[in-house]
Symmetry: C2
Amino acid sequence: MVSIHQKIFRDIETKIMSGDWQPGQRIPIEHELAAEYRCSRMTVNKALSALAERGMIVRRRKAGSFVATQQIDRTVMDIQDISTEAELAGYEHDYRMLMRRIERLDASDAALLREPVGAEILRLQCLHLVDGKPNAIERRIIMLDAVPLARDETFASVPPAKWLLEQVPWSKARHVIRAVSADAATARLLETERGEACLTLIRQTWQNGHTVTYVEITHPGDRFQFAGDFQPAEKEVPDHLARRSAT
Amino acid sequence: MVSIHQKIFRDIETKIMSGDWQPGQRIPIEHELAAEYRCSRMTVNKALSALAERGMIVRRRKAGSFVATQQIDRTVMDIQDISTEAELAGYEHDYRMLMRRIERLDASDAALLREPVGAEILRLQCLHLVDGKPNAIERRIIMLDAVPLARDETFASVPPAKWLLEQVPWSKARHVIRAVSADAATARLLETERGEACLTLIRQTWQNGHTVTYVEITHPGDRFQFAGDFQPAEKEVPDHLARRSAT
DNA sequence: TAGTGGTCTAGACCACGGG
DNA sequence: CCGTGGTCTAGACCACTAT
């Protein structure tokens, strides 16, 4: 059974997607829709609010609601912890800690993170393996002020990303995706050629305005990609474009 | 002025972000919150529904609402039309049409697009320049069945992406981001070195189950990146991680 | 079975902003 | 001004599910 506001949402969505209602076109006002669907205005409002939140319509007081002219072209990327991702895909994940060192933030990293020079940090480097093949290098900085428990954590059994997600309840985050050429060290670790195109995900996470962690995860370009659906609900995606991050 | 449901939303968001309410912890039921905020249950419900939609809480009938244990780690990437993006960033955008040809879908592309062999297509290739420097190569296939108007469009004054967005009201889309090494032709066009790491965005768009267009946009890795905020509402992002796609 | 969320109503007042 | 959306109320019934 679908609720009334869901039905209204889908009906209007369909009208827009099919081109029945053109961009810029004004759609019926709440009272009219309420009459059409024989429901209260609040129910209509719930559907229209959801449509507006998705960017499919634009709502203006006094003027009315309009089919969005500016086609929103954004995509939701699932950026999962590597171990979780590998598990979900049915692959075996393993990792090796290459470095674990307590340091103080130097000038260059301080500028990068926008945190004060000299702050105590835990610097980690580890190699992730999927089905026994190197899949990613993780270079991470954890701010010890923000996550004091990390000081005594060896990450021997739980990968840093997973551990942090469990420790730090919530955060703001910023993601950047870049393409870079593998330098000598990276190539050696990933068992690929020097100069090979790599996909790097940079993620900085904050809590209450303070950096929790900063991480660069570098994947070999020939074995990794990011994929995102425009509509999270969409399931009927062709296999050939399906996520293949763990191949 | 912030509305009551906004205040409730923010209060709970803060409690979760600060760690005051731990993951898995049960939060007050709707009636209790309604009493606390001296508002109706519907108002509380609106706030909690929004929190649930963002994945910050999980709601279960009879059991109650709980702080989400599985930290969602997804990001919203704005994937804009290059010309629009450049304009927004205050850069000058130009493009050159390198190829425009009506063909029939060959076996390899048909498999890639999951469309029938022999379907009529418009194949485009163009070079995008930002501030006079090559910024991207766009290789595009437009299905003429889905967009018959494209047959007579020269794209002399409007870039294909922009034109299509105006023509095709809405669609499902699939995005893939890859790192690839520049081949000879790509390197020449982008005025970079052969083998240089490039960031490729692949986008396939559907309408009513039929492919509208398939495009590969390849950017030089040293001049481009994708960036996304975890929270779309978040504005206080450090400059050094800000979008620099048009630099 | 009883507690909780999901949905809905038939009003209401107000803020905004186009005419 | 006054039409439209934004918000809110004080109930109500129902579906689900933990106990």
